[in-house]
Symmetry: C2
């Protein structure tokens, strides 16, 4: 069985690269900190005798030989980049759990039938280069290599330039190596496991997500002399939209409808001016694709209704859509067996967040393992998972990988 | 009678000082542009034989002698500063109408019993130094001279430093000269006169206004995995607050209840993060003081209710309150007589916006005259009032001033 203390020590050592004031980490994709994190991991893996290759979008594949090196490898991993004020676990756990699996096998001189690969996907967070999961998406063919290399950060630095600068512009073709299967351990990033007192989420898939940019154009006017009934208040319209959309989602007793307005900005805001122009973003999610269609239709109807009632011109653009993902039943079953055989309390669940596994599942049988995180908080310096839960998830990962690699 | 073309020419000449791309003006308070505008006015007034003095907060008093120079002067005026993308009329009309009155009297060699004073109040807009109407407020004793001089703009330049730099740091005590009465002509800044086909608003007072800073503190969370019922969404709470407050104001059939949320900001906004912290501003107005009390009570109740329903901690601070102002009946009557005798369509009305007249009315009998502005738009480069309406308002001002100065 894996060594929970060693896993924890490697998590805490990684957190020292790009530490933040309040105990989190800042390793934005393709920065010197990201490179230093990768280097530390490679040092550890080289010490185990692993070899590695980097593809043209910086995805890092660390290989441990199997008995049958002609067979496609069984893979595990996640990402090492963080949010600007990120935590010590989101992504990192999935990578360092993979390291712990490799170390455990090395300790016992176990050689699997199939080779194993530990993957570090580039720029999962999407904070430096939008969108999220862009390099696993490129690996899976959802984005072209050229478009990914051309993406710019806020300072106009391209993904390709940043990749060169940090030393991880690899040569191997994107899409290689082809994987037998892929397992990703991750913190849940939500409150369900903790609330329910469960240790393992056996992730059966990922809910569908759609992102919209919305603009509301009314007429700015002086707050004092403009009667309420003459107003075309873009913020009042936005408030109605958000309030109605919230009520709609809350009315779904299954809890499967999720709506979020994450950004809202008043153009030229002033305390005594009725807002004329508002921009906002909407994130719609559902675990069932045609329910997500229905949610989008409701949302679009609401936009028209609110626009008319408030005398505001409403436009929207759907800028991203990720369909509902169902993970491979054989991989999900392997995870579930692992949890059961370890005697851990678990539940089957859908992932609410996007992960690299979403795209990888398009080209290889895939599953995920969740462990609880305190108060469901992530993307936050306060993010925390207990050493026990990290170890339990890693054990389940190890068991699933072994089963799969030796089948 | 006054010369409408000459008035219009002076308005258009003033607009050439700090012109903006789209036909508006930018003369922020106590900038070189503000100084150049004052200088142009002084050139015009000196040519008429007027004298002038500047007080310690930069208020400019231009005097035309009367027959009885021992009596307190009858005053008129407004402000020359503008919003960053301001128009050609807001404030400027009241000053240049005063100039036109002085020129008309000079043309006909009319000397009034009482002396006349044309006042330019400093920093009415409040865009450079908050709050609005700060120098007329200082004149009237609402703010101390020291606190006004110490106010800082966004770059940390104090009011006092800016006053020195632009050459209008005067020596005369604030509060002098004491005025017999004060008349301010202004564009309505709202749509009522235009909609009703009326030329003159006989302003009987100014509605009360209260400004609040509100913060909503929930818990930021990942938009994907966080179930709706676990969320403590500060923006959803803000949306509910704004929507309910709007509905409350719209339900008042008298139209006298006005509520505006002009600024709203999400702290660390991100498209896939449930907003944890929101700041917003609320502007409440009513023409009746105890109705304004009731409106504030409703608003405060709503804050608690929304906070509880949404699991969000709501705090508020009232940062400014301007009570309902009733102008002096004898001054209002003089304006009304002027409008009636000129055969103009007029209505008695309350001002929705604050003006220098609000503070001046605390220390001298005061009234205001409104003329329509196109589409009710102000604080905007597109602000427009017709030459005919500007002339009509100036004629009413002239008649009221003459009646008052010769009584
Ligand atoms: N795990 C994660 O934060 N992914 C980003 C995409 C999403 O919003 O779910
Ligand atoms: N006229 C004007 O814009 N005054 C500023 C104060 C207010 O918001 O009414």
């Amino acid at each position: 069985s894996i060594d929970g203390q060693r896993l924890w020590d490697s998590l805490m050592a990684m957190a020292e690269i790009g530490p933040t004031e309040n105990g989190g980490s800042c390793r934005l994709a393709l920065t010197p900190e990201d490179a230093a994190g990768r280097r530390l991991l490679l040092d550890w893996c080289e010490a185990l005798g692993c070899t590695w290759q980097v593809d043209r979008v910086g995805n890092l594949f660390i290989r441990r030989a199997g008995k049958r090196d002609d067979l496609a490898p069984v893979a595990m991993g996640s990402h090492l980049d963080t949010q600007p004020k990120g935590g010590r676990f989101d992504g990192i756990l999935g990578v360092l759990a993979g390291l712990e699996v490799l170390r455990t096998l090395a300790d016992r001189d176990i050689v699997t039938e199939r080779p194993l690969v530990l993957v570090v996907w580039t720029n999962e967070e999407g904070s430096r280069f939008a969108p999220a999961m862009v390099a696993s998406g490129t690996y899976a063919g959802a984005f072209s290599v050229e478009s990914t290399l051309a993406r710019e950060d806020r300072d106009g630095v391209t993904f390709g330039e940043a990749l060169q600068a940090c030393g991880y512009a690899g040569e191997s073709p994107v899409g290689e190596p082809r994987l037998d299967s892929f397992f990703e351990l991750h913190i849940e990033q939500g409150p369900v496991l903790e609330e329910e007192g469960e240790t393992i989420g056996v992730v059966t898939g990922v809910q569908g997500m759609r992102w919209f940019d919305v603009t509301l154009a009314g007429q700015s006017a002086h707050a004092g002399p403009t009667p309420m009934r003459y107003r075309r208040d873009a913020l009042a319209a936005a408030a109605r939209l958000i309030d109605r959309l919230q009520a709609h989602a809350l009315a779904d007793e299954s809890g499967d409808t999720k709506v979020t307005c994450g950004c809202l900005e008043i153009v030229s805001a002033s305390r005594n001016v009725v807002p004329g122009d508002v921009k906002l973003t909407i994130d719609l999610r559902h675990v069932v694709e045609n329910e997500l269609d229905a949610l989008q239709a409701y949302f679009e109807g609401l936009l028209s209704e609110v626009g008319e009632t408030c005398g505001v011109t409403v436009t929207q653009e759907r800028i991203w859509a990720s369909p509902v993902v169902e993970f491979a039943p054989e991989c999900v079953a392997a995870v579930e067996r692992g949890a059961r055989e370890q005697g851990l309390k678990y539940r089957r669940m859908m992932s609410g967040a996007g992960h690299d596994a979403v795209y990888v599942s398009r080209v290889a049988p895939t599953a995920m393992i969740f462990v609880p995180c305190r108060d469901g908080i992530s993307h936050n310096e306060a993010e925390y998972a207990t050493p026990e839960d990290c170890a339990a998830g890693t054990q389940v990962l190890c068991d699933a990988i072994l089963e799969r690699a030796n089948r």
